[in-house]
Structure formats: structure tokens, C-alpha cells
């Protein structure tokens, strides 16, 4: 860029500004989005929580259901609990599946969490519903994919639903409006660094 003159820079940016304005003007649809965060990298849940924070800040009401995390007191819960009228945060998993070692119990737990997601999707009070780690539950066949897809695609017109977890089923990606894959480039566990407050939990 050093060789470009200031006038050339201004001209280029002006063109880009105009192009950007045209693009934005062409987008007129408002709708509730089905959003999927998948991939093996970090950031799937945290990005969903960040989106929940945005929505809360806009006065929207958000429900967050965690499917496979235990009843830990996560950092985020403390923040969401400060906005009782706008955020409902429910850690409903009993722990990771390798901690329970009981498939029947895991299936029952998944069903209770899913019923809560369904309730929030149906209730007009909620603008956004986060089904955290639902993909893991689908991966283990703890919930029927057809039933889940039927509920998600038949959601009310302005309801945003965010589904997280690695290995999102192809049919869910197909049904979604916005899909991001989080790819792991580098992870500190490889250097012996342990899970730390504020980062992993």
C-alpha cells in the first residue's frame, strides 16, 4: 500500500463505500435465522453467548439451554443472571457423556433439555433461543434428527435459533440460514496449558 498515493487510496475507498452501500440496500428481508456454529475449533459456544449478549443489549429476550455441560457455575451464567427479564440460562446436561456412562439416562436428559428448547421456540416471549451443544446430542442419536429439524424449520417467523457443537448433521446445515465452522489452528493444551477461568469456562 505504501506506493499508493493518498488520492488513490481515497478513490478506492470511495468506490468500496459505494459498493458496500449498494449491497446493503439490496438486503431488505428480516427474518428469524437458524444459525449453526460447528467445527472442531473453539468459539462455537462463546460466539453464541456473544450473540446472546448483543440481543440482550437490544432489549430482546434470550433463552440458553446447555445440553451436555454439567451444573457448573459458569462465568457467563453470573452475567446473564444479572438480566433476569432478558436472559434465561439453563445448564441442563448432567456432564459430558463419558461421565455418565449410562445411555438411557443421557437420552432422558437430552429429552428434558429439548422439551425446554421447544417451549422457548413456541413461546413468543423469547426472541432468540440458543441450543448449546445440541449437535453432540444428535451425533450420539440421543434425539431423533427428524423431530429436531421439524421443530427448527417450523419455528415462528422472527425467532432466531442458534445451535452449537461439532459435527453438525448435513441436514441441519442444509436447513440453516447462517453456518460458521470454527477451525482449530492452534490450541494451548498442546503446550501443557490447563483450562483456565475466563477462557474455557
Amino acid at each position: 500500500m505504501a506506493e499508493r498515493t493518498e488520492a488513490q487510496h481515497a478513490e478506492k475507498m470511495k468506490k468500496r463505500q459505494a459498493a458496500q452501500a449498494r449491497i446493503v440496500a439490496g438486503k431488505t428481508i428480516e427474518k428469524g435465522l437458524l444459525i449453526v456454529h460447528t467445527g472442531a475449533g473453539k468459539g462455537k459456544t462463546t460466539a453464541a453467548l456473544g450473540m446472546a449478549v448483543r440481543a440482550i443489549g437490544h432489549g430482546m429476550k434470550v433463552g440458553v439451554i446447555q445440553f451436555v455441560k454439567g451444573a457448573m457455575t459458569t462465568g457467563e451464567k453470573a452475567v446473564f443472571d444479572a438480566f433476569p427479564a432478558h436472559a434465561e440460562f439453563k445448564p441442563m446436561g448432567e456432564g459430558f457423556t463419558w461421565d455418565t456412562q449410562d445411555r438411557a439416562r443421557d437420552i432422558a436428559t437430552a429429552r428434558v433439555a429439548w422439551d425446554e428448547v421447544k417451549r422457548m421456540i413456541a413461546d413468543p416471549a423469547y426472541d432468540m433461543v440458543v441450543a448449546d451443544e445440541l449437535n453432540i446430542v444428535l451425533r450420539y442419536d440421543y434425539l431423533p434428527l427428524d423431530e429436531v429439524l421439524a421443530v427448527l424449520t417450523a419455528r415462528p417467523a422472527m425467532k432466531h435459533v442458534v445451535v452449537t457443537g461439532r459435527n453438525a448433521p448435513a441436514a441441519l446445515i442444509e436447513a440453516a440460514d447462517l453456518v460458521t465452522e470454527m477451525t482449530q489452528v492452534k490450541h494451548p493444551f498442546r503446550s501443557g496449558v490447563k483450562a483456565q477461568a475466563g477462557i474455557e469456562f
Copy 2:
């Protein structure tokens, strides 16, 4: 999985639990991490905000500097402002670069924002500093990469720094502890859906 018996499932999960416990036991280092969210997909900033929420929930103090977003009232700002002792949120960009069309002004703006990041990194009161969209500024050569890397790598031992933005420089990725690339799989703009509150801003 249907063909596997319950006993086989329990056995497999027990092995996985033991393996997981061994992995966790081997991770003993605690340190401030240099975290990079890059890639063309969504979720880079929102994942950083989600991490900030976690940290705030743990009683940590977080500083967020936005390099290229204008002085809009974002949803997240309203939430962070509810935790004045734990969150400092500063949108310091004047807008996207195509809106200013003035490189000298953009460079001056970047410098003011960077000085604030440096202050927060040096101040022991902050546990985590988010330099949102710093990669964009580096991409345009608005700040010298060498100077930025020198400050980031010499940060205090327990200070977490999160840098976001597409096109992270290779040297920054090399210096980082945790790098996630957000890859766009599907985006609703392609279907004419406009930017919506709670999702894009």
C-alpha cells in the same frame, strides 16, 4: 451406534472418561493467553465478547477496544456497561475505512486505539484485553506489525489478550497460544436478508 449394547457403550465411555482425566492431569500450566480469532466467517468478535462475558462472570476485569467500528450503540455495550467495575468497552474506530477515505485520519485513529490497548495491557487492573478488529488495522499497515507484536509478546504473565479480524498476519498466528479460524459455510446475505439487531450488531 444402534448395534452397540448398553454395556459396550458404558465401557467405551468409561475408557474415554479415563483418557480425558489423564489429559487434564497433564495440563498444569497457567498463563495469560494470546488468542486470535481470524477467518472470513462470522463469530470472531462475538466469540471474543462471549469470552469477555465469561471473564466478567468470574470477577475478572476486561477491557474491549474496537478498532474499526464506528461510535454506534451496539447491543453488547449496553450489557457491559451494566458491569462498570469489570468491563470497559471502548468503540474507538470512526467507521469502516471505506467511510473515512482518509488514510492519515485512519492511522491517527488506530494509534489512539492502540495506545489504549497498550495502557490496558500494562495496567495490572485488567485481566483480559480484547483488541477487536486489530487485524484489519494491521492489514492496512495503519500500525507497524513489529511494534504490535513486541507489545503483545511482552505482556504480563497472566494477561489474556484476544485479537480479532480476518487476515491475521502469519507472525501474529506464530506468536499466539490459541488460534481459531472462523470459516463461512453459509451466510444469509446471499439470500437477501439484511443485517439484524442481535445478530450483526
